[in-house]
């Protein structure tokens, strides 16, 4: 399955948007968190600034998000994990409301209750969560619902290679294959689960090889490349939509930032992230779309400008939105 011109451009655009989003966040996140504005004796204050709390950025991992989501419709479900922005953006989550959520604002997706690890946008059937591996069974549930309701929508669970050693992974894969659910499991292998290298967490080199244990196809995408992901995902999504059951895909990808912002990264070889950036998948796809004549230099530049403005607008929206009232903490424990 080859990507159409529209799909190529869409992937290129979304990758730029994601990257812009993440790099902006890397800066915004630092606001107010460094001396001398914080408690004496601290080098950094995770709870300070306009965007407090943990922050897991996905710069470098854009190909996984766009290569898969290029095949998805609005009524397909995506369940992400603790590093969710790239998936959210590729799935079409409202950028303003998502950003406002990370600022803890009342205009946020969760009215400030969720934060960056807990983004829920039912309009595009996106959700994510902070517990490693937990999304995989939930995606099975969405797929089960599609099947019961006679819809041809599919569900995708994204998670890291570290999550693939969690029991939930196993139970979900078995359930999906047993019930022939329209679900695609996508493992992002960014080589680390926080500080732990894959070789220290996973008994085999590729999680794709675990698919056979569930009688489902397993596909390894060896390059951090949107087109390669697009191909593998296309087959998997189509298979699911045809009612033929689940697929497990593992993609080798790269994490440019620390596990979370503020990660000392002492466990990582010096200069590794810099080296990885030499193989940035965005310029690579840029070259392709320009070579194919889908974009010229000036429209590329204006595209980038437009996306930067779009992202900036979202941050402005988030920053300038009002906080919820403190006592709103008591709302939404139960639906009426």
């Amino acid at each position: 399955m080859d990507a159409t011109a529209g799909q190529l451009l869409w992937m290129y655009e979304k990758m730029i948007e994601i990257r812009e989003y993440e790099e902006t966040m890397a800066r915004v996140y630092l606001e107010g968190k460094l001396p001398p504005k914080i408690q004496k004796g601290l080098a950094f204050d995770i709870g300070a600034g306009p965007v407090p709390g943990e922050m897991h950025l996905a710069a470098g991992q854009e190909p996984v998000a766009v290569g898969v989501c290029a095949h998805l419709r609005q009524d397909d479900t995506v369940v992400g994990a603790h590093r969710p922005h790239h998936f959210a953006i590729a799935k079409g989550v409202d950028l303003d409301a998502m950003t406002a959520e990370m600022f803890g604002k009342d205009t946020g997706l969760g009215r400030g209750k969720g934060g960056h690890m807990h983004l829920f946008d039912p309009a595009v059937k996106f959700s994510c969560g902070g517990i490693v591996g937990a999304g995989a069974p939930q995606a099975c549930g969405a797929a089960l619902a599609a099947k019961k309701l006679g819809r041809d929508s599919v569900a995708v669970a994204f998670f890291g290679e570290g999550a693939a050693n969690q029991g939930a992974f196993h139970e979900a894969l078995n359930l999906a294959a047993l019930w022939k659910l329209p679900v695609v499991f996508v493992v992002e292998d960014n080589k680390y689960g926080i500080s732990v290298e894959k070789s220290a967490s996973t008994a085999i080199a590729s999680n794709a090889d675990r698919a056979a244990g569930y009688g489902m196809p397993g596909v390894l995408v060896e390059r951090n490349d949107a087109l390669a992901v697009f191909k593998a995902a296309g087959m998997a999504v189509a298979r699911a939509r045809r009612g033929e059951g689940p697929t497990l895909i593992e993609v080798k990808t790269d994490r440019y930032f620390g596990h979370f912002q503020g990660d000392p990264e002492t466990y990582r070889p010096k200069g590794e992230a810099k080296e990885l950036r030499q193989h940035d998948p965005i310029p690579a796809l840029g070259t392709l779309v320009r070579d194919l004549g889908l974009l010229d230099a000036s429209s590329d530049a204006s595209l980038r400008e437009r996306l930067a403005a779009r992202v900036q607008a979202a941050y402005d929206f988030g920053r300038n939105s009002p906080y919820p009232r403190p006592e709103d903490a008591l709302l939404h424990v139960f639906a009426e």
Binding site: G114, D121, I131, A134, P137, Q138, L144, E171, N174, E336
Partner: protein
Amino acid sequence: MTTATPAKARTLTMAQAISEATAQEMERDPRVFVMGEDVGKYGGIFSATTGLLDKFGPDRVMDTPISETGFMGAALGAAAEGLRPISELMFVDFFGVCFDQIYNHIAKNHYMSGGACKYPLVITTGIGGGYNDAAQHSQCLYSIFAHVPGLKVVVPSNAYDAKGLMTTAIRDDNPVVFLYHKGIMGLSWMSYFEGSTNEVPEEPYALPFGEARVVREGSDVTIVTLSQMVQKSLVAAEELAAEGISAEIVDLRTLVPLDRATVLKSVAKTGRLLVADEDYLSYGLSGEIAALVAEHLDTVRLKAPVRRLAVPDVPIPFSRPLEQFAIPQVDNLVASVRGLMNAKVY
């Protein structure tokens, strides 16, 4: 002399009442379906789903692998899409293999989404001991479910309540945990308290959550209790009545929401409180009820210190004499109330 005989009232066991409520709601609402281990052909290990497979077929009554995290997570995912799963955790004792899905996701996602997403699902599960199933199959644990925010918690004591509360549970747009004590289900293979098998109307009806029920009026002491312990308390109250002690019994029925007013009103009337619980003593239900009264000593005047009767912080032992010692029995209830009658506050 002839009198019109009223149509013989229909009695059901609690198990029958639960499956009847489920069947009626499944008929009413095609979005409702059931999944869990052995809920299909077997009809549920504790018969909570008996007859459903025949009525509704395997698409709506689904046996699952022994993958509680898998299918609890799937229940969440399906509920998010608008279905209304009823997901059975065979014994509550197994919650430790899947509690993350329940308390970190099912319970919290509505809140974390700022109300944008709903998760209408029911988790049914068997609780309680008394038949020598030992430490991993005899627990109550409802206070853990009630402790974490976002779950409604239902613990019925009889068939009539069970049907009405199960109906409400299925119709609720929130996650509800419905815990049935095995020893009041009316199973043909387990000794049970007969008071739990009672008259149940055939037509569907819903009982509100958050309304405790005074199952016996009394003036000397209030026994706040739930589940099978309600039946034990009713037996104890008869013994106490013979001694001239009048016990009022409050059946909590739901822990979340908790009907604080009914508890306080009763204790204000009697001036004495015994909390009777089959869960572990410390850091749980019995403490919460005692604390409720302690917080209202401006309006409630106690004649005696509060008493709690519960499992004395030991795992449930297997052997009959040990288990009978660990789980409060009718005799312990009687003795505790007697103790309360003799106690004084400072």
